[in-house]
Amino acid sequence: MKNDTRFIQEEGRVLMLGNEALVRGCLESGVSYVSQYPGTPTSDIGEYFHQVLRENPEIGEYLVHHWAVNEAVAASACAGAAWTGCRVLNPMKHVGLNVASDALSVISLNGPNPGAMVISVGSDPGSLGSHQEQNERFYAWMFHIPTIEPHTPQECKDWIKLAFILSEKHDLVINLRTSTRSAHSRGFVELSSLVKGKSKGEFIRNIPKFNSLPPHAINNHIRLYERIEKLRESIPRLDINKIIEGDNRIGIITSGMPFGYTIEALNQLELNDVPILKLGMIYPLNYEQIIEFIHPLEKVIIIEELEPFLEMKIAEISQKRKINVEIIGEKYLPKYNEYSTGLIATNLAKIFSKKPNERINKAINYFNSYKDIIPSRFPTFCAGCPERATLYSILKATNHLENTIICGDIGCYVMSFFPPQECSDLIICMSGGLSAAIGMSTKTDQKVLAMIGDSTFFHTGMSPLAEAVGYNSNILLIIFENSWTAMTGHQDDVLRYLINQGFSIENICKAIGVPWLRIEDSYKPKTLTSTIKEALKTEGLKVIIIKRECALQAHKWRLSQIRKLEEEGKKIQDISYYIGGCQLCYECAQILSCPAIRRINTQGIEEMQIDQDRCIRCGVCYEVCPNGAIRKSIINLLEEEVPFREI
């Protein structure tokens, strides 16, 4: 295997995902500080920086990457580094912007100079990897954050470079807004030279600029309008908005990924005379450029995913300038879910009174005729997951949530609501579950449970826990201490450091004064079930910490230990589980629902089977089978046992 040189080679043409290209663009811009909390579709940005730093330690002389504990910390940390005169990148997912917004509202007012600050917000139309699909573009209006929307990986690279130049020049925070599709699509990128960043900067005191309080807050607000206007004037010279000429009296304004779908949809419909304005900068808009484009037209279609953002502004401009052109978009195109070429082609056919493309129509109709027989395949907990095992115990202890509310949260356990376990009644946001439980417990006699993972606990979970202690809320809080930020792919500098220092959530709970605290292991479901029962009989705040490492990591570590011992010539215990005499009660399949267990049909006889490739030997199914049909086999009984590691 060769080293991945795409990030550091001096020139050439390479294949890159949008996010990879964005990282390359940063390395060509002399970025020297990056901070982010992981979240799809931006988590891999940090992973590429880590890869670059691992493979090229000399870059570490000037570039620092932090996995922040939350997005607000990341945003302020980035501002701090920018104010020493450095170029900084702050990636976040669309909902991460909600967390960062408090900080960004002020940072954009102050301005990132003498350095430059680019945020890269990964939007997610279609909720492909998020709990919702909010249209976060409106923050651009609220905080005056100029927003650039790339379409291809080449644009991701070129335009993040432009964003740094503009940020530095105009003292503005700039957003290079991606989407799940632009972040995770691969295409060719022409490389330019790498530029070293600053290893050290210097903060120069400037009280009016960095203290946006009266009277400076208003002055900075006035200054922000001036900065935005200067940028707005410069847009035509940036070569970021493009016109594709055409003679049709109906034109289209679009941006980012919807441009790609639109131009292909027009080709499918053989409508190749429609003029298109592709906006690279979606805030601020250069009005003259837009007016020039729409003026000769009868009708303009605005094609953008989610709520009308461009459409509102363009309708406003044309109304104010008294231009007689019909502006449409949301009237024909959905304001939810992601777009595709097929969807846009179907809707454009209506607008242009064209016969719909026959192949597209047939594809939709035939697919609709059989789609109901496709079995569901939603994401679920991995085989051996300690969180799945905890849900099993919760279901057993509460008689399947009888008279019990369970407040979910964000992390792997966000998947709790899926059948067959259906063990989450509500989800709000990071640590919203515990907060909801505080209010709920004052207004109902139903039992209230809340769940939170360790990464979410550090993100924003400690504050609601302090409040729950303060009011002695009648809640049972389950904390999954699996020692990883598992859901987004194990990005864990801070968590690893704290754990290696012997620091634990148990210490925090004790220090904060949790009145009832137990440490449990979900691989011992019987004990855990009785502890949950005991907790639910107790008034006031109860916390159970489930101390068990993420199964993916635990399994990986255990296999590596086994390999090491075997290489040393040692024999080790070989444990496996198998099923014999199954009564088909479905306890393991419906209530535990481990994916390592499958139902097979051999010559008309149904039985359950454990997939040895997937089973990680957690033993939970063995513990819970009410009929003793799950058996344990140990080969080399007298040899060394390799247990999972303690955390």
Binding site: M1, T40, G187, I263, R359, I374, P375, P420, A589
Partner: protein, 217 residues
């Protein structure tokens, strides 16, 4: 099927988490670069790789672009009905993204099922292989199926090569034009952990694919 150099090639790869859908997409893309392809643009889904979910990727390339940008590859997602090849690493996944298929689509299908938790829990039914194949045959007669998992277990004692085997199996259908076998081999040698086994899997797939085509015709 004969492709022109300016045609946009559309390949859907579908499977379940851990089957190597994204690896296979990357292999085709990097091989297409070696084949001198001018444009490449394809989406893949990240973020839920380990968690049993359905994974789809869109592999799209164009050997030579038109001067007129309106006719070129510009979207990383395939249009409904526009796939010329659909590689299914798992039978039910052949249906899940069926909206991208039409009479111009060739299907290559791994017959080994991976039932989800709802099937194991006896709360949903998994359609029979025959039922799935019948649905596919309604698109076209270009449906080529094989138990790739079984063959890989037999030859390599592992199911890790199923994705590469299925690529090999698809090659004789001539739906991945302009890329030569050597291009895949080069990429495998550069990027893969165990190039030797993967190249063997590729060739095993190619041979099985050729046999099936001969028998079918």
């Amino acid at each position: 099927m004969k492709f022109k150099e300016t045609d946009i090639i559309n390949i859907v790869i579908a499977g379940t988490a851990g089957q190597g859908v994204i690896t296979l997409k990357r292999l085709i893309e990097f091989a297409s670069q070696k084949a001198g392809v001018e444009r490449n643009f394809g989406a893949e889904n990240h973020g839920l790789a380990q968690r049993e979910g359905a994974i789809t990727s869109h592999t799209r390339y164009q050997k030579q672009t038109f001067k007129d940008e309106r006719k070129n590859l510009n979207s990383p997602l395939i249009c409904y009905g526009d796939a010329n090849l659909y590689i299914c690493l798992e039978p039910a996944e052949a249906l899940r993204r069926g909206i991208y298929a039409s009479d111009k689509t060739s299907f290559v299908l791994n017959e080994r099922d991976i039932p989800g938790v709802m099937i194991t829990a006896n709360l949903e039914q998994y359609p029979s292989l025959e039922q799935i194949k019948n649905i596919l045959y309604n698109y076209s007669d270009k449906v080529y199926s094989i138990n790739a998992t079984e063959l890989c277990l037999k030859h390599f004692h592992s199911n890790q090569q199923v994705n590469i085997f299925m690529l090999g199996f698809a090659i004789p259908t001539r739906n991945i034009p302009f890329i030569e076998i050597e291009h895949y081999e080069e990429v495998i040698k550069e990027w893969f952990r165990d190039p030797e086994t993967n190249i063997r899997a590729l060739h095993l797939g190619i041979n099985e694919g050729r046999n099936i085509l001969v028998n079918k015709n």
